[in-house]
Symmetry: C2
């Protein structure tokens, strides 16, 4: 919902790495995600809290374990609302080029 929290959450390489790892294997515990992270468990927990705050990660408790699941919706929303704006002119240019190259007027996507 909040573009700013999403952008800020994505600004840190460690947090992007955590998302990458969740993308590779969803539903990991904090402990799992701490493996090979070159920082303390609490530091990882803080990063996960920020991702959770930005709604990029959803959690589910199973006993004493906290499972983390990636939530792609905010990323998609930001990409659609904000980034695609800067992509549109370029795609327009490409579409025009495509029509030019193909010599026909059917460049619909």
């Amino acid at each position: 919902m909040d573009d700013d929290s999403v952008f800020r959450a994505l600004a840190d390489a460690s947090r992007r790495q955590l998302l990458d790892r969740l993308y590779a294997h969803n539903g990991q515990t904090s402990g799992d995600l701490c493996q090979n992270m070159e920082m303390s468990r609490q530091a990882v927990a803080k990063h996960l809290a920020i991702l959770e705050e930005a709604n990029l990660v959803a959690v589910q408790w199973r006993g004493r374990e906290k499972l983390h699941f990636i939530n792609p919706v905010p990323i998609n929303a930001v990409a659609e609302r904000w980034i695609s704006k800067f992509e549109a002119p370029r795609l327009d240019a490409l579409s025009t080029l495509k029509r030019t190259l193909e010599g026909e007027g059917n460049g619909q996507q």
Copy 2:
């Protein structure tokens, strides 16, 4: 080229606003971009320097004026390399189209 500098540059709302303003009207001077920015000229200059550093803005000198032009390529590159992974189904077709077109020797990147 450097994902991290792009993500960090985009993390600040003021910088995103500057990009918005350049998108609305490209080629503005620092002075133009300071209008209605609720901060000093130097603060804006710092933000512009960060955008320039991340290659999101290209500059061109005209006498004593520094013109700023938006460069959408890094945003698109990050979107394609990183974000589209999380929305693979929806954007796959689009990315494929872009790669196809870019492979036809038009020198877009």
